[in-house]
């Protein structure tokens, strides 16, 4: 039964800062051993949500449960909970005059059963023997050290706030590999990101936030699954009546922007055939016809715009 307890459960969370509501009634659940991605535009409340979960901000109303414990936890239980939580802040958190290995070793010293700091840094592409101080390292290198600091305590639940911002392709790959490996070990991740590449490669569950609320959620398949479309380009403002008649009633045909046509709905090969035939009859070149889905980025933007 214990495995059924969500790693993170947020109900009707409201967080205010300087009289402004940043999180406005958020509901969110992160299942254990999964990666939950919080996505949404700047100012959607993602970072504030993460910071409230780890105790850096106070909720105005609502409830948060971390690994089954109601936040804020009593002082004695706090220690045990913090052994199980890892956090990578959106920025800062590192001592600029420290070297990477000593920084991660220091965080490791705070935990009862830490991972090996040198191995972890190495897995993230940072030479553990370097004597370069953190203030002389690039932003991407500092992010890698922050990720190592978040994971060195072997957390059961890790919050990573924009973990791959500033990382190069190799750095992102190392990070993705490390997260997948930890997920296989049963670790739960809650990450915020603007990079849909992270989401597509890692997330089991996606929560789309806008204006402090959860406007959509589900697996990537659930979010994009019903969004198959046939698109084609042609002259602006073509007469589409004949094509509409040929399509099943549950299909929608739109022109936006002018000259870009899109058929959405329940698509099957007969729909593709009808569109292809109509295009053939109206001089639309084959190369301008495409079948596929909108990108996750487009879907998130549309969900946010419609919220």
């Amino acid at each position: 039964m214990l495995a059924c307890v969500p790693a993170l459960e947020i109900h009707d969370l409201v967080v205010r800062r300087s009289g402004r509501t940043i999180v406005a009634g958020l509901d969110l659940t992160a299942q254990p051993g999964q990666v939950t991605a919080l996505v949404g535009p700047n100012g959607a409340g993602k970072t504030t949500t993460v910071e409230t979960c780890v105790g850096l901000r106070r909720p105005f109303t609502g409830s948060i449960e971390l690994l089954g414990a109601r936040v804020p936890v009593p002082r004695k239980a706090r220690l045990r909970l913090q052994e199980d939580i890892g956090i990578m802040l959106q920025d800062g958190g590192l001592y600029s005059t420290a070297r990477p290995l000593e920084m991660v070793r220091h965080i490791a010293a705070m935990h009862a059963n830490p991972d090996d700091p040198a191995t972890l840094l190495d897995a993230l592409g940072i030479d553990p023997t370097t004597r370069t101080t953190l203030r002389r390292m690039s932003g991407g290198e500092q992010r890698r050290v922050s990720a190592a600091a978040a994971l060195v305590g072997r957390p059961r639940l890790a919050f990573l706030d924009e973990p791959t911002t500033g990382l190069d392709a190799a750095g992102r790959r190392s990070f993705h590999d490390l997260v997948r490996q930890r997920v296989a070990d049963g670790v739960t991740f809650v990450l915020t990101t603007h990079l849909m590449d992270d989401v597509e490669r890692l997330a089991d569950h996606v929560v789309v936030m806008a204006a402090g609320r959860n406007v959509a959620q589900g697996s990537i398949t659930e979010l994009v699954g019903s969004d198959d479309s046939v698109s084609f380009r042609g002259p602006m403002h073509m007469n589409l009546d004949e094509l509409r008649t040929a399509l099943p009633a549950e299909c929608t045909l739109t022109e936006a922007p002018p000259g870009h046509y899109r058929v959405t709905g329940s698509l099957d090969p007969m729909v593709l055939a009808a569109v292809a035939a109509w295009c053939g009859q109206h001089g639309v070149p084959t190369g301008s016809i495409s079948v596929g889905r909108r990108s996750l980025d487009e879907i998130v933007m549309a969900l946010v715009d419609n919220a």
């Binding site: 850096l56 802040l89 590192l94 001592y95 005059t97 220091h106 010293a109 305590g153």
Partner: protein
């Protein structure tokens, strides 16, 4: 590992960490070691300040410089370092680990004691080089140093927790100079008008220099000064506990 030994391990790690970073920082070393040593040389090799006319000028100068050393490491340096740790988010990150606020502050206090020991050792070695010789009663100065650190460190944390890092830098250095010049250190309370001298003697700066002077010149513990320092310490701890912010 029991809860108590885990707590001791975290506190020790934090103290070693703070000490290492403090001793690595050139600006902090200037403040905690180089300025006191230069001041000792100025006081002992020139007669521009009142210490030169004291009955035991070397011991009086050493007491003055040790007081400077304590204030610079336990107040100014601690406030500036902690203020910048707040700004960089380092304290926010630590607050999410099992390190408790008490363990953090204890670690900082131990690191401050360690740095004060190092800076005091350098100052005492410099004093020995210019001819000062200790007496058995000089050992009371150790008590004065410990109580002095306890009196000043909480106020460094109060300052670090109350203002932005840049403001902490300005205020900590400004307060350091103000106490140096007008707090009974460079100009002893005895050289000030009576009304002003009374005020200065109850300031943590005046009490610290009085306590150190009594130990190094007369070989005794100045109980009044020690009680005043303990009072400043208790008040500082109370204010710091209520006002210190991690972020």
């Amino acid at each position: 590992m029991s809860a108590a030994s885990a707590s001791a391990h975290r506190t020790r790690s934090q103290a070693l960490w703070e000490t290492r970073l403090l001793l690595r920082n050139g600006e902090q070393l200037l403040l905690t070691i180089i300025i006191p040593v230069v001041l000792l040389l100025v006081l002992t090799l020139t007669d521009v300040l009142p210490q030169a006319t004291a009955p035991d000028p070397l011991a009086t100068s050493l007491a003055t410089v040790l007081a400077v050393s304590v204030i610079s490491s336990a107040f100014t340096s601690l406030a500036i370092a902690t203020g910048f740790e707040r700004r960089s988010g380092a304290l926010r990150l630590l607050s999410t680990t099992p390190l408790s606020p008490v363990e953090l502050l204890t670690g900082k206090a131990l690191a401050t004691v360690a740095v004060t020991i190092v800076s005091s050792a350098v100052v005492v070695a410099s004093a020995l080089l210019v001819g000062w010789r200790p007496t058995p009663g000089s050992a009371w100065a150790m008590v004065s140093l410990v109580v002095g650190v306890a009196a000043w460190a909480p106020w460094g944390l109060v300052l670090a927790g109350a203002l932005r890092a840049e403001a902490v830098l300005a205020v900590a250095n400004g307060a350091f100079l103000a106490f140096l010049l007008f707090g009974g250190i460079v100009i002893p309370a005895s050289a000030l008008p009576a009304a002003l001298a009374t005020i200065v003697e109850v300031l943590p700066s005046g009490a610290l220099v009085n306590s150190l002077t009594a130990a190094l010149t007369d070989g005794v513990l100045d109980v009044t000064a020690t009680v005043i320092l303990a009072g400043w310490s208790a008040l500082g701890v109370l204010v710091a506990a209520r006002t210190f912010r991690w972020t």
